[in-house]
């Protein structure tokens, strides 16, 4: 029994019955205003701006984007970074979170370790990567000293640099989110499965995975949106002129190098649309799974 359920019985529900209006909704006004001012207004303004280019018709910007050879491929380049990074993050975080599902010393140690990259931010991570993975970095030094590999190591200023950076900055987020979903599942369900003959993997496959699926979809969406708007690492550890010229770089250049805010808005709109398509697809898949309480019975 949660506080919300108790409140629902006593307070607001009564108000609804009496007046047909839930006064608790008033509490949402500040947040709604905030959303309108900070999100809806800029969005609508940008949308209008993208259809009002300096020259040409209303669709000129969109035509430009999809016909210019250094603009339209940015969608593919960004997806090629964001989708694998998200899959890696969610895919690795899931089994580790499952292993850590029992609260204990390890859970605390790992959680603490993983919070650190979140607080670092992408710029510090990029700097660390340049020191560590760069051509003169510790990694190549160590490998050369141990005579394991003498060739040049190219993990920065290219696709891999950005991908690694996205994994480092995105993994803790995915892990912590999934861990909270995993620990929310009543462990007695797995124990019941065990008495029915399910080993650890079968417990994961038949109990945890289906119950986690909606949460995983949500986590995927959040991690994807985060990775899709990659900017600092694409510049700092990537090759922003070519292989990691992601869509946000294109928008940045349009706005602050060519001072074409209208085109920049159009690029931002396209970026948002691509994200929306992916998120909608993933959340649509979520509907195929069970959603509801994840406890095993009374209590």
């Amino acid at each position: 029994m949660s506080a919300a359920a108790l409140a629902g019985r006593g307070g607001p529900a009564v108000a609804v019955g009496r007046r047909g209006f839930d006064r608790a909704l008033l509490l949402a006004i500040p947040a709604t205003l905030f959303m309108v001012l900070l999100f809806v207004y800029p969005f609508l303004y940008g949308l209008w701006l993208s259809f009002a280019p300096a020259k040409g018709g209303a669709l000129a910007n969109y035509r430009t984007f999809f016909t210019t050879p250094d603009l339209w491929p940015t969608i593919g380049i960004t997806l090629k970074l964001a989708l694998p990074a998200t899959l890696i993050n969610v895919g690795i975080a899931l089994p580790i979170a499952f292993r850590m599902r029992v609260r204990g010393r390890w859970q605390r140690v790992v959680t603490t370790l993983l919070v650190v990259p979140i607080t670092l931010g992408t710029v510090l991570i990029a700097e660390g990567m340049l020191n560590y993975f760069g051509p003169k970095g510790w990694l190549s030094h160590t490998l050369q000293l141990l005579h394991l590999y003498d060739g040049p190591i190219r993990l920065t200023h290219n696709y891999w640099g950005v991908l690694i950076s996205l994994v480092i900055s995105g993994f803790p987020f995915a892990f912590l989110l999934i861990l909270s979903y995993v620990t929310g599942i009543d462990p007695v369900l797995a124990r019941a499965a065990a008495t029915l003959g399910a080993g650890t993997f079968a417990q994961f496959r038949h109990i945890y995975l289906p119950l986690l699926a909606p949460g995983l979809a949500m986590c995927f969406c959040l991690a994807f949106v985060q990775a899709f708007s990659v900017f600092p690492s694409a510049v700092l550890v990537g090759a922003p002129a070519g292989p990691t010229r992601v869509i946000s770089i294109a928008a940045y250049q349009a706005a602050f190098e060519q001072y074409d805010y209208s085109l920049a808005s159009a690029i931002a709109m396209i970026m948002g649309f691509v994200q929306l398509v992916i998120v909608a697809a993933v959340l649509g898949l979520r509907g195929l799974f069970y959603r509801g309480p994840v406890a095993g019975g009374k209590g």
Binding site: A194, T195, G197, G296, G297, K298
Partner: protein, 358 residues
Amino acid sequence: MRHDFRELKLERVTRSFAAAGGHAFNALDELTMTIRRGEFVALLGPSGCGKSTALNCIAGLLALSGGAISLDEQRIDTLPPEKRGFGMVFQNYALFPHMTVERNVGFGLRMRGMSAAEIAPRVARALSLVQLSGQAGKLPGQLSGGQQQRVAIARAIVIEPPLVLMDEPLSNLDAKLRIETRAEIRRIHGELGRATIYVTHDQDEALSLADRIVVMKDGVVQQIDSPQRIYAQPANLHVAHFMGYRNVLEFEVTAVNAERVELSGGAVRIVGTLCQPLDGRRAVVAIRPEEIVVGTRDGGANSVRGSVTGVEYGGRDSLIEVLLDGGLRLLARSDVPAERGDAITLSIPPERALVYPA
């Protein structure tokens, strides 16, 4: 995983938990017993006495802090639950919320690699045993508490395990369904022909179902015996109290004559039967209300007089509270109507007044 066995041996099985102060306490303290094939054993005791702990230790869901469990001379206490293969009905059901009733019940069979064609008829039969045939397609969240409980029973027995462990499986059923399901559980037990360990805090359930009853208190076994002996010869005062000996009176011992003990307190003198060696001048007598004979005339040797101070109507008979002449109070069952203020004589059969050390 075994499908049959001769005996399951528990030797000094102990499980401790960390208590608030940092030190450990034993939720289960040196449980020793042997369960033979075909036996129905009930674990009986008040809430928090360690019944679920004992069951979880046997199922493999809790590691032991000490002792050993062996199945036919083979140690199993380090095996994980899925290797032991005992069926378990959990106290809070633990149904899989994302699977239909049918899939919940069929889960154990799927884990054993059976084909869908083999599984379907078995699941259907298990569901009809617990009278849930019409609910196969529902999710657990769409069932009532009692229905969920019956799904949990069906899920545990459909795999025909060598040992079925049930943790208060009837606690959420109404009185009628409880008695029906009780009979069903006993019948299923006979049909499977293996063994059942059944946890309950309801003495009627334990008495009616079990071949042997284990009475526990604070993690310690008080008595392991047949229902008849548990009912008639409680090993100590705790067991007596738990088994419905509601009159517990403290007296002075005046004479001990082998089994016969003479006691007195105030104006009352009674003779009782010794059940446990006395360790002093004082003793406690435990008497079941229904074993006191209520009359109006003087009942002879072991009888006391008093007046009725309370009547609790109970259908076939009533529970009456009697204030004895010496100031003591006794509860008795009477099938003749009594009213407050009636003068009454109570006769206590000496062999049914059980004497324990105070």
